[in-house]
Amino acid sequence: MTEPTAALSPDTWTVAGRTFSSRLIVGTGKYKDYAQNAAAARASGAEIVTVAVRRVNLTDPNQPMLMDYVKQDEFTYLPNTAGCFTGEDAVRTLRLAREAGGWNLVKLEVLSDPKTLYPDMEETLRSLKLLVKDGFDVMVYCSDDPVYAKKLEEAGACAIMPLGAPIGSGLGIQNRVTLRIIIENAKVPVLVDAGVGTASDAAVGMELGCDAILMNTAIAEAKDPIRMAVAMKHAVIAGREAYLAGRMAKKLYADPSSPLAGLI
């Protein structure tokens, strides 16, 4: 009897020399409070959480702090540049993040239009070059343009993170063809970042062959975020396993599963 292939070796992925088993990265925004946030992150099985860098509230320094709930001995923090619209802002933010956290794995996102939150790819590429020169390992949020994805990789991105749909839209994966082209051509990990609305969307993303999925709103804005976090955990595993298993061919007509021979 042959062993199931899934048992042979652990299915891990590696970014900038760091290896992870969970293929789900979760954001830490939009939750009711940090306690719910931490519970959802734990329920999702995620090993990496994205975090933002913001000014300390000087008038009320005793406000609850993220670090006290979503703890760094439990999760790898991935500082992002959400809210940055220029390369200089992004670099400045991540230098502060590096000093606050003491690590150099970061997520770059340089946005353009506040309505679509689409990445400004020209500015993103320019920022990436500045950050790479400054010694950062940069995971890059990007559009689903295969040409720009290649440029980012050539400029030293340690992961490419194209959107599946606009940030926070929950529309599901809208661009399977371009994502698949990016995945096939990339030599660094590709993560679908943004667009997932529910568990089946996460499975679709993973079935395309991406290395991991990053999501925030789909969990945080579910009626029961903890339960949705569990659903996402299973969906990411299911999609990954289906991708590795290799799906059956699609056929136009029916093909019976029971033998036709021996019919009474």
Binding site: T28, V56, V70, A100, Y141
Partner: protein
Amino acid sequence: MTKILLNGEETEVLAANVMALIEQIGIDPRKVAVERNLEIVPKSAYVATPIEAGDRFEIVHFVGGGD
């Protein structure tokens, strides 16, 4: 008192160095990062970094965020 710009607000502070400033605000120095006049102040240099009139400080920390 020294007049500085702290997180975008004009403020008068008594602190003579960055460590004293953080203590005066009442936050845990291990949980923040400090920028002075657009330059990062390493944690190891908090005591040695003076606060001078007109300095522009940013004191930040990690908060929840996704995309």
